[in-house]
C-alpha cells in the first residue's frame, strides 16, 4: 500500500474505533445510571426488600392468666410439663440417635415414626423438633445424668392448662385447645410465620373455646413476644437478631367459690341437675354447677377419640350445661312472682282469703285444674297460699291476669333474656305470650294457658340461671346488680344496680316472711330441711311435672320410668332476715322439690356463709 492509502485506512480505522468505543462509553453510563437508580434513588425500598428477605420474625407464646376464685384460690393454673426437644440440625443419623435415646426415654412406635417423618424438614431449616411430650420424672432424671451424651437434645419446659377441680368446674371454666387461626393480627408478623411460633404450651397455640376461657380469652391471653431470626435463602435460621419477651396474660378474678362449688357437687351427687348461687350484694355468681360433668383437663390436654365419643353419645349429655341451657318448668317456684304481680296490680292483698277446695274450675268451659293436695287447703290468703303452695289460689290469680301484662312482668324478672353478663352461651329461653304462641304453634292463646302459668307449668320454662336471678331480685327487694362470674371495678358496681320491680317495703317484708315460713314454719312445704342448718332460710320449692296427669294415682304409675319423673326444684335465700346469698337448684327427675333439692340448696348456703 502506498503511504497515502495507509493514512486513509488509519483515519478510517480511528473514526470507526472511536465510534465503537463511544458506544461502549454510553453503555457504561447506562449501567452507572441504572446502579444509581437502584442504590440511591430507590435505596429505601431495596433496603426494605433485603430486610424482608433475611429477617424472619416469629411470635413467642405468652402464658395465659390463671382463673381464681373469690378468695384468690386458683381454679385453673399453668402446670409445667417437660418435653424432650431435639435439634435435628446437629443429628447426622436420626435412626442411630433414636437407638441411643431409647434406653433413656420410652418411645412408642408412633412417636418414632412421627419423628423420622418430620426430621429432614426440620434439620434442613435448623428448627427444633419435639421427640417426646410430657416426660415422667424418671425419664427426666435418666436423661439429665446422660445429657452429656446428647448435645443435640434438651429438656424443654412447656405448660399445660390444669384445674385441680376438673370435673366440678368443667362447664363454667370451659376448655382450651389448639387453634389454627390463633394469629394476633395486630402484630407485624406474617400469618405464615405462626407455624414456627415458640411455644409455651405443650398443646401449641391454645385458645379458650368455651366457658370463661372463651369469654375472657382476650383478658387471659397476654401478649405475644417476638423473636426476629436471621434466615438464609433456604429458610434456615442463622441467629437471633431481636428479642421481645412475651407478656403473661392477666389473672381472672371470679366470684366463684371453690368450697361452695364442691359442696354443690357433693350434695347433688350422681344425680343430674344444676346449681346456681348468687352473691346478693355484688350480683357475683358463686356457684355455677351442672351435672353430670366431664374432666376439662382431659378435654384441654388431649382426650382419646373413644373417650370423647363416649361423652358425646352419653344419653345424660355431660357436655350440656344445664345451669345455663337447661329449660325447666319453674313449677311452684314461680308462685311468689305471680303473687307479687297480683299485689302490684291490686288483684289481691295479703289479708283477702279465698276458698281452696283442691281444684280450680275454669268458668269458660268447666275444665278442672287440680292442686297437689286432695281436698285442698280450705281458706287461704297469699301468705298461706305460698306456705302450703296452694295451686287453686294461683290458678285463680292467674285467671284474673292479662297474659300480656304477666309476660312483661316476667321479663322484668329476667325471664326470656340472658341474665348473666359474662356467661358462655347462656340460653335466654323465652317468655310465653299470645304472640309467641301464635308465631310458634299457629294457635291462639287460651285462658287455660294463663291458668297453667300461674303454677309455673304449661309454656313457661326457665334456666336454673334465670331462676337464681329471679330469686335474687326477690331476695334483694327488687334490685340486683347484673349477675356475673368475674369481678369488676367497684365504681361500675353501682351503675349496674338497677331496680327490676317495685313493691312497697311492707309487701317485701311480708313476702320474705311468707317465704321464710315455707321452710321454717310447721306447715311449710319445705319444712323437711329446716333442721339442716342453724340460720333461717327463705325459699320456695317446686315439682315440675313432665307429664300432665289429673290424679296422683296416675302419676304413681309413670314414676316407675325414671325419665318421666318430676323435676325437683328449689329457689332459696338466706340467712333471714338479711339475706346474703340466693341459690337455685334443679334436680332432674328428682321428684318432690323441697325434700330433694332443698338439702342441696342448704349445703351451698352453709358453705357460702362459712367462708
Amino acid at each position: 500500500m502506498i503511504f497515502e492509502e495507509r493514512q486513509i485506512e488509519k483515519n478510517n480505522f480511528s473514526s470507526r474505533a472511536i465510534f465503537l468505543f463511544a458506544i461502549v462509553g454510553v453503555s457504561f453510563l447506562a449501567v452507572l445510571f441504572q446502579v444509581f437508580a437502584l442504590q440511591v434513588s430507590s435505596y429505601t425500598s431495596y433496603e426494605l426488600a433485603a430486610l424482608n428477605n433475611k429477617n424472619y420474625a416469629i411470635p413467642i407464646q405468652p402464658l395465659r392468666g390463671e382463673i381464681l376464685d373469690r378468695k384468690g384460690r386458683a381454679i385453673v393454673r399453668n402446670e409445667p410439663t417437660f418435653d424432650l426437644i431435639t435439634q435435628p440440625d446437629l443429628i447426622t443419623q436420626p435412626e442411630l440417635f433414636l437407638g441411643l435415646i431409647k434406653p433413656v426415654i420410652y418411645l412408642s412406635e408412633a412417636e418414632e415414626d412421627r419423628y423420622l417423618k418430620k426430621f429432614k424438614e426440620k434439620a434442613f431449616v435448623n428448627k427444633e423438633l419435639v421427640l417426646k411430650k410430657n416426660l415422667t420424672p424418671e425419664e427426666i432424671a435418666r436423661f439429665n445424668v446422660r445429657s452429656f451424651n446428647f448435645e443435640n437434645a434438651f429438656i424443654g419446659k412447656r405448660h399445660r392448662r390444669i384445674s385441680d377441680y376438673p370435673q366440678i368446674f368443667a362447664h363454667v371454666l370451659g376448655y382450651t385447645s389448639r387453634s389454627n387461626n390463633q394469629h394476633d393480627l395486630s402484630m407485624e408478623i406474617p400469618r405464615s410465620h405462626w407455624v414456627d411460633a415458640e411455644l409455651t404450651y405443650a398443646n401449641g397455640l391454645i385458645q379458650g373455646k368455651t366457658g370463661l376461657e372463651e369469654t375472657y380469652n382476650q383478658h387471659l391471653s397476654g401478649t405475644h413476644g417476638t423473636r426476629v431470626h436471621e434466615i438464609n435463602s433456604r429458610g434456615r435460621l442463622v441467629k437471633t437478631l431481636e428479642y421481645y419477651p412475651p407478656k403473661k396474660g392477666l389473672d381472672l378474678h371470679t366470684h366463684l367459690d371453690i368450697k361452695a362449688q364442691i359442696s354443690a357437687a357433693n350434695a347433688l351427687g350422681d344425680r343430674k341437675g344444676a346449681v346456681v348461687a348468687i352473691d346478693l350484694k355484688s350480683g357475683g355468681i358463686n356457684v355455677l354447677y351442672s351435672a353430670p360433668t366431664y374432666s376439662v383437663n382431659k378435654l384441654s390436654n388431649g382426650m382419646s377419640v373413644e373417650e370423647f365419643q363416649d361423652l358425646i353419645k352419653d344419653p345424660d349429655k355431660p357436655f350440656f350445661n344445664r345451669a345455663l341451657q337447661g329449660r325447666y318448668p319453674p313449677a311452684s317456684t314461680i308462685k311468689p312472682a305471680i303473687g307479687m304481680f297480683g299485689l302490684t296490680n291490686k288483684f289481691i292483698n295479703w289479708s283477702e282469703e279465698i276458698d281452696d277446695p283442691g281444684f280450680f274450675t275454669l268458668p269458660e268451659n268447666g275444665r278442672i285444674y287440680r292442686g297437689w293436695k286432695k281436698g285442698g287447703h280450705n281458706n287461704v290468703n297469699l301468705k298461706k297460699a305460698l306456705m302450703v303452695s296452694s295451686n287453686t289460689y294461683f290458678f285463680k290469680l292467674a285467671y284474673q291476669s292479662d297474659m300480656k301484662d304477666l309476660a312483661s312482668y316476667f321479663s322484668s324478672l329476667g325471664f326470656g333474656s340472658s341474665v348473666c353478663r359474662d356467661c358462655y352461651d347462656e340460653d335466654s329461653v323465652f317468655v310465653p305470650s299470645p304472640e309467641w304462641k301464635y308465631k310458634n304453634f299457629n294457635v291462639p292463646w287460651f285462658t287455660g294457658d294463663t291458668v297453667n302459668i300461674g303454677v309455673g307449668q304449661g309454656y313457661l320454662v326457665a334456666t336454673p340461671m334465670q331462676l337464681a336471678n329471679y330469686i335474687s331480685i326477690l331476695a334483694n327487694k327488687g334490685n340486683l346488680p347484673e349477675p356475673a362470674l368475674v369481678k369488676v371495678e367497684k365504681q361500675s358496681l353501682d351503675s349496674n344496680k338497677s331496680q327490676k320491680i317495685s313493691l312497697s317495703n311492707q309487701d317485701w317484708v311480708k313476702m320474705h316472711d311468707a317465704l321464710t315460713a315455707v321452710i321454717e314454719s310447721d306447715f311449710g312445704t319445705a319444712r323437711s330441711i329446716r333442721n339442716l342448718k342453724d340460720f333461717q332460710v327463705a325459699g320456695k320449692s317446686g315439682t315440675a311435672e313432665l307429664v300432665s296427669l289429673d290424679s296422683k294415682e296416675a302419676y304413681l304409675e309413670v314414676r316407675d320410668t325414671e325419665l318421666l319423673r318430676d323435676h325437683s326444684i328449689i329457689v332459696a335465700f338466706g340467712p333471714m332476715p338479711n339475706p346474703q346469698y340466693a341459690v337455685s337448684v334443679v334436680i332432674e327427675n328428682g321428684e318432690s322439690g323441697g325434700a330433694v333439692a332443698g338439702p342441696v340448696a342448704i349445703e351451698v348456703l352453709k358453705s357460702l356463709l362459712n367462708e
Partner: protein, 362 residues
Amino acid sequence: MSNRSAKIYFDPYLFFSLFTLSVLGLFFLYSASNADTSIVLKQSVYIFLGFAIMIAVSQADPDVFRRTSLVFIIFSVLLLGITFLFGPEINGAQRWVRLGPFSFQSSELLKLALPIFLANFLFDKRLPIQSREIVISLAVIFIAFILVARQPDLGTGLIVALSGLFVLFLSGLSWSFMGGAFIVLIICSPLIWNVLLQPFQQQRIATLFNPESDPFGAGWNIIQSKIAIGSGGIFGKGFGEGSQTQLNFLPETKTDFIFSVIGEEFGFFGVVILLSIYFFVLMRCLYLALNARDRFCRLVIGGLTLTFAANLIINLCMVVGLLPVVGMPLPFISRGGSSLISLFFAFGIITSMGTHKKFLPQ
C-alpha cells in the same frame, strides 16, 4: 540487535490496572464465596499463571500471531469438535474439554482465534472491502457462532460472533451494507424469536421486562440481584456484611452475579471505582490500537478489546436488570480459570501488538 533482544515488551498502565482488578477480584471472591479460602487460593493461582502467560505472550512479535492465525483457528475449531463429541455434559450443555488435570471451556479460544484470523484475512485488502471478502468473513463468523451456539451456549456464541463482526467493521465494512443488514435483522427478528431461541431463552427475555411476573422462577435472579445492589446504598454494607450475599439470597455470587456482591457490600462508591478501572483499561487499549504499528495490529487490538468490552457490558447490564440473564462472567473478577487464562492471553496479545514498533529503515 543485542539491544532489542534485551527489551521486555510490557505496558505498565495495562499491567497495573489489570493487577488491581485481579487483586480486588480476590477480595470480592472471598466475600462472595462465604469466606472460602480454597476458592480464593485456586483463583490466585490462576491469576499468577495468567500474568505469566500475559507477559510471555506479549514478548512474541505480532507477526507470529499473524502467521499462525490459520493454525490457531483450526485448532480452536477442532477443540470445539472434540468437546462436541467427547466433552462431559454439565447442566445440559457440553462446553468443557479436559486437558489432563485441567478443564477448559473450548469456546474461549475461538474468541481469540476468530478476530486474529479475520484481521489477518482483511488487513491487506483495499478499502472499501469487496463483497467477496465480506461474504467469506461472514461465513466464517457464522460457522464459529453456530459451533458455539450449538453447545448450547448462546451467550458465548454471540460474543464470538461479535468478536468477528468488530474486526469486520473496523476493517472498513461499508455503512450502506450495515444499514441493509440491520433492516434485514429487524424484519427477521420474529423469525429469530420463534425459530432460533429456545423456550427458556424466550422466558429470560420476557422476565427481563417484568421480573415480578415470576418471582420464584426465572425472575428470582434478577429480583435478588437488584435487591442486593439497591440495598447497598451509597457506601455499601461493608466487606462480608451483605445479607443478600452471605445468606445466599443472591444466586451465582462467585460467577455471573459477583458484581451484585460488590454493589451490595461496597455501594455506589465501590461500583464507581470498579467501573473507572475497567474504563481506564478500555481507554488504554483504544490508545494502543490507535498507535499500533500496522493495520493488522490495530484490527487485532480493536477486535479483542471490544470483545472484552462487550463481555463486560453484557454482564453488567444483566446483573443490573438491563439485559436478560445470560451466562457471562465479570472479567478478571468472576471465579473461573478458563475465562481468566484466555483474558490474560488476550491482553498478552494486545500488549504485544501495542508495544512492538516497526523498524524504521535508518
